[in-house]
Amino acid sequence: MILQNLSIKRKLTLITMLTSSMALILSSAGFLIYDLVSFRHLLTQDLMTQAEIIGYNSAGAMEFKDEAAATATLSALTAKEDIITAVLYRPDGKIFAYYFRGSAALPAYLPSRLQGKGYLFERGYLEVFHDVTLNGERVGTLFLQSDMRQWSMRARRYAGILAIFVLVSGLFAFFVSSKLQGLISNPILHLEDTMRMVSANKNYAVRAVKSYGDEIGRLIDGFNTMLSEIQQRDTALQSTNGELKTRTQELEEEIFHRKQTQEELLNAKHAAEEANRAKSTFLANMSHELRTPLNAIIGYSEMLEEETRDSGKIENVQDLRKIQSAGKHLLSLINDVLDLSKIEAGKMVLHLETFEVSQVIEEMVTTLQPAAAKNGNSIHVHMGDSVNKMRADITKVRQILFNLLSNACKFTDHGTVSVNVEQIKVEDRDWIEFQVRDNGIGISAKQKENLFQEFAQADASIARKYGGTGLGLAITHRFVQLMKGNIWVQSEVGQGAVFTARLPAQVVIDTADSAQSESTGKAPAVPAETKTGLETILVIDDDPSVRDLMSRFLTRLNFHVVSAANGEEGIRLAKQVHPLLITLDVVMPDCDGWTVLNRLKSDSKLAEIPVIMVTVVDNEAMGLDLGASNYLIKPVDRDRLAVLVEKHRGTRSSTITDDNPVPLSYVADRQADKKTAGTRISRTRRN
């Protein structure tokens, strides 16, 4: 492990050194072994020769059993340093003579038995046995033992030389390899340096220098190619980054500008809304300010006309009538402009109620009879069989019909104006279609384009000839739109005209209005909602079943219902929730309905809340005298109740916006109002 983590330089040196040293040691060892083996062989030969010579010399002594001569012969061996023992045995194995180097005593390890001739190595000694013969007859055996001193010395010397040689050659190898390893390690180290530099400085422009054409050279080539590629990408990335930064900055600027614009727009919107409010207030005030002098002009001229006629000055009557008619025209102009501005401000509110279509048609025809007669026209009415009731804003339906009919009468001379009313089904919805047809002067295609625009009479000459403000059809159009209906015209010059207004049989108030009434309708006695008193009806009755029935019925009509079981509670709740209207029973324990009614009407804060009496007591005069708006006898006629409460729906919101008048323009409207206002009171009185 430690070896593996060594630097490539060291590794290379180490490998070279190890390799060369190993080879050297191996070859030296081979040589050494060979030399030692052959030297030993030489030594053995030499010892055997020695044994032959001594055997020959001592054969006579053995024959003659001359021990001294034999010992003398053996003693000659002193010259031979390596021979440490020499023994002559008699043929029977007994020692005859001997020689021991350095010692007079017998050594302990003489061979126990005599061997045949030959040599052997035993315990580091070389031992030789030789037969001593005389004239071909064996007379004894010679034993020589050598300690191989020469051999061991030679071996030691050799080993020493070898060690020195290995050391020297190792040093040499180290020197050479450390010089030569640079060939391989230097390029690699250079590559490593370059890499470190690149990664540390992120400078991809640096290149490694290629030294040789070997694998490392190719590696460096590859590395350089890689670097230049990275450099390219880096440059591209940096330029993209730069672009991105610029773009981000641009975007930020744009966002800033947009926010500024948004703020400006918001301010402008607030300003516009403020201006619109100011306009509405201004119009409301102007309406009042203009009407007051007009009142005097029309009134005085009417009065003067009567007086003049009485005094017989007929020639002045015409002039006075002109003043009157101019005044009335001015009044209708003011009303039209107010109506239109009201629509534009989005403040025109729909007051929905259910009514008989035929009744409205009759009213309008009656109203317009004089206008028709003026031009010698006759009005024909056709009502479809299925036409019955519709739910819409009756005032606006009247105005629509009035405008269409009066236009038809105005632009037709001695002709026929026919009104056709049908109930039809389109897209699964019921519609009431009013068609007003005349055979008058007609309308050209060009005139049709702007027909429903404000101040766009067919042309200026028409205004001079026929009069009018040019607002009638625009207002009619807006009213039809307000009730989610359609209006269109078919006409050609000289061929008369057919105006068709199609209104839903059941007009619904959409968006905020309906959401509001719906939420109040659903909410079960939520104080937060009842506080506003908006669309809330207070039911005062001691009979729980009546309370329950009324509550359910009125809830279905999209009112919020609060009920009280007695008079005291009723007055308290009336103060608390300030309801749109109150239904009141007469016969109640403790505080009866008359008392409650009296207290409600004498409280300035509650007096304006309409009260509908709902009772078994048949004393309508009393109720109305005390200030009740209507009087219903139990069991209650639900349709009647629905009509009565619907009349009041939405009136509270109008009460709140007192500054924004809903002008009852047009003669028809005023007459119709007179009729309803008048008949309503007389009807309830007569009942």
Partner: protein, 125 residues
Amino acid sequence: MQKILLVEDNEMNRDMLSRRLQRRGYCVVTAEDGEKGLSLARSEAPDIILMDISLPAMDGWEVTRLLKANMSTRHIPIIALTAHAMVSDRNKAIAAGCDDYDTKPVDFGRLSEKIENLILEKKLS
């Protein structure tokens, strides 16, 4: 002769209306503000009251309420006259206890019809 109390702050309108009503044969008493109207209603006991709604100080609604709350004047029919031709005014007028309602500029024919109707009803009841 029927007596009419006209409560109206605008001098021209007061003069014009009272003269026209007199020509129709009514006896006309006029008041230029609400308080005077209240006291005249009590002292003169008119057969009918024409009440302008936009009066200085005490407005027509207030005067009507006070008149209707008082036992001695409760029976006198009141016709409200407003310059603001608002639907809500009609309801307001009825709610305040007015017996009828008309908008200004007054259509004299229509107004006299209303006056006659109310006087007739009052006689019948």
